[in-house]
């Protein structure tokens, strides 16, 4: 790995200036490296962080990558990593115009990393250097504890998708002592409902009384209302005071924190070093959580800007056609499949257009007539501001859930594609399953990354129970054994896992239902309890 040439660096500094002019905000410094294919193969199992700790599975991955590389020359790599300064990677034989295009894309990512609130917990330190110190620590531990370090890494990694990412994020937006309720909020949210237990009718009446006071006395309506409350319930103030002093409930712990705090095994004198390793795996995983949760947004944002900025750049005139070819590959909607670059970019462009026309407003939402809707345009030109706020505040799930509507689906002729077996011709048929925005949205949401959620409790002496929250999906059965094996080791006792699985249908029944109605076979769920004890897994169907 070597730094990019001074010539290319100068070009990139020019890109930064142009990006700043249109409103992107990012740290001044950035590092650009030339990487060879060989570097890439070694970097990709380390999630492109050169300083990430060593672990043997990465070597197997490397070997596997090598094999796969011979077969499929394209591999999952990212070009830019969220470090301080941000590091990005380039092929050594790229022409200047392509480097400019890629660099604009990279700037889009860097801007996203450093402004999107879902990355809030990564803003205050440099991950590359922290990873380096972790790597040294692991190497030192390995020289003392040998292969057991690798077992702890392995078992920690087997649960590293279950880290409490949102709890971690919440630290940044929550005030230290929890949210302070105003008198008014306390009255409506807690006092009336929990203390006085008033009926819904009374509650609404009270709400209406408040609204009327505000209407008639815009200046001091709230004060008047609270005075009237005090005169009605003399005990109100003392209740409010008591509530303020009440301690906030203990925070929810993720499985790492739970094990580290409650496992007798881990807290033994001779096993204390394992806690260090676990914390390291946990924080590494937390660091990467936002990346996978903002794929559509992040790629969409970067694609939007590389197109916008490249075409404005006067230094590369004459390469528009070259650009168009690469850009089309990146940002075209496939006939079947979901390209996050294309979807995200279109959604940003759509939102910008909507906001420019003032359509993100109550007035527009209330319109029912299609022709009027189509002509609605207030010319307020607030599009840029609006998409900047979206890039700051959204994750993929919110982005998709909030903004995909029928107009968008129609505009880009999107549909949900289905796949079915044509028994006569022995082919898979792809067909247009639905063009409704509701279905499309559901399909995208369904394909988003979503780890299972576990409730953790100790049910008896040294026995851990994990309750998998049912969200309409089973767990991957083959992996349960490996994962529970790791948890048992870290916990130091037997572990139960409660989950739900689909009741299998006998083969004979399937053959009978081969007719047309095969599209929607009935799915019945059953509760299953797995038990891992002494490294042996057993499975039991729970009857309620």
């Amino acid at each position: 790995m070597e730094l990019i040439s001074q010539h290319a660096k100068r070009i990139m500094e020019g890109c930064k200036e142009r990006a700043r002019d249109v409103g992107l905000r990012f740290q001044d410094e950035s590092l650009e490296y030339i990487v060879t294919n060989r570097d890439l193969l070694e970097l990709s199992p380390k999630i492109m962080i050169p300083t990430l700790y060593d672990y043997w599975v990465q070597d197997v991955e490397v070997l596997k990558e090598r094999g796969r590389y011979e077969l499929y020359p394209s591999n999952p790599y990212e070009t830019v990593i969220n470090t301080r300064p941000a590091i990005s990677f380039y092929n050594d034989n790229n022409p200047d115009w392509l480097n400019v295009m890629i660099f604009y894309h990279v700037i889009g990512h860097i801007d996203f990393f450093q402004n999107n609130l879902f990355f809030r917990h990564t803003w205050d330190f440099d991950f590359a250097s922290r990873a380096l110190s972790d790597k040294r620590l692991i190497a030192k531990l390995r020289s003392e504890k040998g292969r057991w370090v690798d077992y702890v890494i392995e078992f920690s990694r087997s649960i590293d998708n279950l880290v409490g990412y949102f709890e971690e994020l919440a630290h940044f937006s929550r005030e230290k002592e929890g949210r302070k309720l105003s008198r008014l909020d306390f009255y409506f949210d807690t006092f009336l409902q929990s203390e006085k237990k008033v009926s819904i009718m009374e509650y609404i009446k009270e709400l209406e009384r408040f609204n009327e006071l505000i209407r008639n006395h815009p200046e001091d309506g709230e004060f008047l209302f609270l005075e009237s409350v005090k005169s009605r319930y003399s005990e109100f103030d003392s209740f409010y005071g008591k509530n303020k002093k009440k301690k906030k409930p203990a925070e929810k712990m993720d499985i790492f924190q739970f094990l580290m705090e409650n496992s007798e095994f881990l807290n033994r004198e001779e096993n204390q070093w394992m806690l260090t390793v676990m914390e390291m795996i946990r924080s590494t995983s937390l660091y990467f959580q936002p990346q996978i949760r903002t794929k559509i947004l992040n790629e969409g944002w970067a694609s939007y800007w590389h197109e916008e900025l490249f075409l404005q750049d006067d230094r590369i005139r004459g390469h528009e056609v070259d650009f168009a070819i690469v850009n089309a590959k990146v940002t075209s909607m496939p006939r079947v499949g979901l390209n996050p670059y294309a979807l995200g970019m279109r959604l940003f462009a759509y939102l910008e257009d909507m906001a420019n026309k003032g359509r993100i407003s109550m007035d527009f939402l209330l319109l029912k007539d299609k022709a009027t809707r189509n002509q609605f345009d207030t010319n307020i030109e607030k599009g840029r501001d609006y998409i900047f706020s979206v890039r700051e505040n959204c994750a993929d799930s919110m982005f998709i859930n909030t903004f995909i509507d029928q107009d968008f689906v129609d505009l880009h002729k999107l549909f949900v594609a289905g796949k079915r077996l044509n028994k006569e011709r022995m082919t898979w048929e792809y067909y247009v399953k639905s063009r409704k925005s509701k279905d499309y949205k559901e399909m995208v949401l369904d394909s988003l990354y979503h780890p299972p959620s576990l409730q953790i409790q100790i049910i008896e002496e040294n026995t851990l129970l994990l309750g998998h929250l049912f969200e309409g999906k089973p767990l991957v059965q083959d992996y349960i054994k490996g994962a529970l094996l790791g948890i048992e080791f870290l916990w130091g006792g037997q572990v139960f896992l409660d989950t739900s699985e689909v009741v299998p249908q006998p083969v004979a029944q399937q053959e009978k239902s081969d007719g047309q109605d095969k599209a929607s076979p009935e799915i019945t769920w059953q509760k299953v309890r797995y038990r891992m004890k002494d490294r042996k897994l057993s499975r039991k169907i729970v009857n309620e």
């Binding site: 294919n37 043997w56 991955e61 070997l63 094999g67 011979e70 020359p73 999952p76 790599y77 990212e78 070009t79 392509l98 890629i102 292969r147 392995e154 087997s158 590293d160 998708n161 909607m333 496939p334 006939r335 079947v336 499949g337 979901l338 390209n339 670059y341 002729k413 999107l414 549909f415 949900v416 594609a417 289905g418 796949k419 077996l421 011709r425 022995m426 082919t427 898979w428 048929e429 792809y430 067909y431 247009v432 399953k433 639905s434 394909s447 979503h450 780890p451 299972p452 999906k473 089973p474 767990l475 991957v476 083959d478 992996y479 490996g482 994962a483 094996l485 249908q505 599209a519 490294r535």
Partner: protein, 462 residues
Amino acid sequence: MMQKLLALYHSLQEKGLTPEQERLIRYELDLAAQQKNTDHSIRIDYFPPQSMYDYNDLAMLDEPLRPAILSLSPTHSIDELLERDRQREEDGFPRKIRVGKMIKPGRNGADKVVVVPTTVEEKLLHDQVRANEEGEGGGGEGEGEGGSGEGEEGEVIGEQPVREEKGGQGGAGQGGGEGHEIESDAYEMGRILTETFQLPNLKDKGKKKSLTKYTYDLTDKNRGFGQVLDKKATIRRILQTNIGLGRVQPGIPVDPHNLLISPDDRVYRILSKEKDFESQAVVFFVRDYSGSMSGKPTELVVAQHVMIYSWLTYQYENQVKSRFILHDTDAKEVEDFHTYYNLRVAGGTQVSSAYKLVNKIVETENLERDYNIYIFHGTDGDDWDTSGKETIPELEKMLTYASRIGITIAENGYGVSGGSEVEKYIKGSGLLESKKNLLRLDVMSKESDEGRLIEGIKKLIS
């Protein structure tokens, strides 16, 4: 073809069939009838990525062409990794490294097999909801994908042959030329299989005569004198000499008349003695490629045959010849592994035809004299010759010369488990007991995984 099958079917019917046998035969006949229609299938020329998370910057933005050859030295060698895996077992944890193989669908059905170690990091992850446990290979029906473009709801926009992911149904003769790419990896894989999975070593390899014979060929080079002048090499030497002497300068045209020739510059080829090894073993891979084999059974059988082939390659240090035989109601020999792997028809099944062909080849080529002969047969257990009347005598004949016959039955799930025709009549014949050292049978269900396959190999060869 159909007429022939139907005629055979009727003659069998006359001899009497149980309803169960009848059902299986009818099923295969149906498949054979459908085969006609599949010729028109339209191929769609894209493979949608598995999920949107497979899209990434470098694949999308950078130049699509990257050099395909790559030498890599990871920090641990494969042997160290396997040693670690052995250590795991001693520490009481299950092994984690699996010897996987990847098959790249190539053009014209010329697939390439690469052997790689793989591992899975097991985590608690959400799975897709499946109504039945089978799942249709890679992506079954069910969850929709994204799409864009024209088309009414319900309209079919493209189709893809069910088995296309396996590299297309190569017709006979396709994929020639690249047939032996697998070989270089096979030895290594055989070694890994033998060491890691403690597959047994052959007890008495080379019981038959092992031959090293010598041939003479003009392959060595000598300067100054010899039999045949190597003109190209000689000119190269002359130029080197003259550059050294300063008689050839860059930028100035070379005049051959002015070149000096030293006697040592003349390069000749001379006769030399070359060792030529003869194969010590010949392996017959026999596979049922009838309609009922499609899907999982074929995959299992072929995967197992790859591993057996690798193991023998290692055992005989590359001195293995392999022959590939496919059969439905007729048997034929195909020339390379790729055709063997890819070919599929939808006819009926007659095991005896394949055994007959093996016997014929052994006899006419007099293989018995020079080779250890191994025969591995993979089938789903269906046989229209339900009693084995024709098969058993052929099998007995094979047993007279073979070092080992291994029969793998990968059940296709249409019939009754544990009750396939082949299994019944082989067990009935008593050969399994009387020729225990020569004949082995392994029956597995169609859900078997790699571990089961290796276990099966142990059963077949130990």
